[in-house]
Subunit: 246 residues, 2 copies
């Protein structure tokens, strides 16, 4: 339904590439892998809200839109299923995942556990460069507030928290964090409405940075817990208020 043709832009031949000159000069020559590209496009369509929760994903239709056969689409869809973005019902197909309020609560609760654990580790292991990167990310949050671009600010907000996790130095933790971050982003357009003033959204990160700078683990955890709990309560409330998605 709808004008599906413009759901995704760009074809599978998006990076024209002529030839290699030396080794490891070019970054990721092989961004091929149709499956990955398809998965990325569907993911983007979901988190951007172009695909509505509960909507059925028909293999044939998707394959037609991507100009491929069904095989890569199936594999991409299964990938997304393992990430929790879509559900899969045998013999019925794939559907964009619908989130209940309880799901949101679970996700944010899990995020608190993960991120506080990451923070505890980061306090001990964060390098000066890690902190410098986070400081820069803070400035970017303010820049996006100035630019009044809600979407961009949300993106940078995610980047900030991801950097914090990276400072933990635990690769597995980041992998898991990325997974639930993907789930959070599915209902993320909500968050844009949480902060009337974009600057306030940026400012709420200050206590976190402050505690990290001082390497004060207890304060950092408490600041983070408060920061995330506020977001959680607001998201859940707004979610229940609007009676579901979008």
């Amino acid at each position: 339904m709808a004008q599906a043709a413009c759901l995704w832009q760009g074809s599978k031949r998006e990076l024209g590439f002529s030839g290699a000159v030396a080794v490891s000069v070019f970054s990721e020559v092989s961004s091929n892998d149709l499956v990955t590209q398809i998965a990325r496009q569907i993911t983007e369509a979901i988190v951007a809200g172009r695909l509505k929760p509960g909507e059925r994903l028909t293999e044939l239709q998707l394959s037609r839109e991507f100009g491929t056969s069904r095989a890569p689409v199936r594999e991409a869809a299964r990938l997304l299923e393992s990430q929790g973005l879509v559900t899969f019902s045998p013999r019925r197909g794939f559907f964009v995942r619908t989130l209940e309020a309880s799901d949101l609560r679970d996700i944010y609760e899990l995020r608190i556990g993960l991120e506080l654990h990451a923070a505890s580790l980061a306090v001990e292991r964060a390098t000066d460069k890690d902190i410098e990167l986070l400081e820069r990310q803070m400035r970017r949050l303010y820049d996006m507030a100035d630019a009044d671009s809600i979407e961009a600010q949300i993106f940078e907000d995610f980047a900030f928290h991801r950097m914090l996790c990276m400072a933990s130095g635990n690769a597995r933790l980041i992998r898991v964090y990325d997974e639930i971050a993907m789930e959070m982003r599915a209902g993320i357009t909500l968050i844009g409405k949480l902060y009337d003033d974009p600057h306030r959204m940026a400012e709420t990160h200050e206590p976190i940075m402050s505690a990290l700078r001082d390497r004060d683990g207890e304060r950092l955890r408490e600041a983070l817990r408060y920061h995330i709990a506020v977001a959680r309560d607001a998201v859940v409330a707004l979610f229940e208020e609007t009676g579901g998605v979008i």
Copy 2:
């Protein structure tokens, strides 16, 4: 290579089923889904050590052994990749994941964060039934110790910790825990050697149960942290000692 024919037993027609009489009397009629079955079998082969880390998984060979075409095998392999059990190299194929000592450290470190968070929640939310189930699981640990079955005891140990996570009441947390548990199990045959006396292995769970019974969050977290950290250090040490896998 090797006698691959007996890596997996059972065919895709393992559950002969005649007809339905009423509704929701039979559990999971559709355990079909070749992909799931294949994924499960490969998983089992990996955690059981029949497939060695680093070993290449050839689609054609796997499909021949399962008696299917390559398509379901590919999808199953991608599923396992998203779970971290196998790695995928474009144009090269799938390989059983190799674990470094640092990976094990990361996994156990993450497990500490997850399980302690689960414990914090469980202290407040665990029902009497949850605790009863855990008590029963404790007895099972001792039973397996009596039976002197290391493998079975490891299995029950996992079940115990999983139950603890379930008592948290957070579905997402369990999903994530299952993922990293899968990764832990990949190098799990190690753990069998950690405890000379199987009874001691069972006993190390007592402080955890005790703290949970008393709903003492701080004591529970501390008992768990110690319990897991001991396992982590022992596993890593044994891992580095044997210079790798198996």
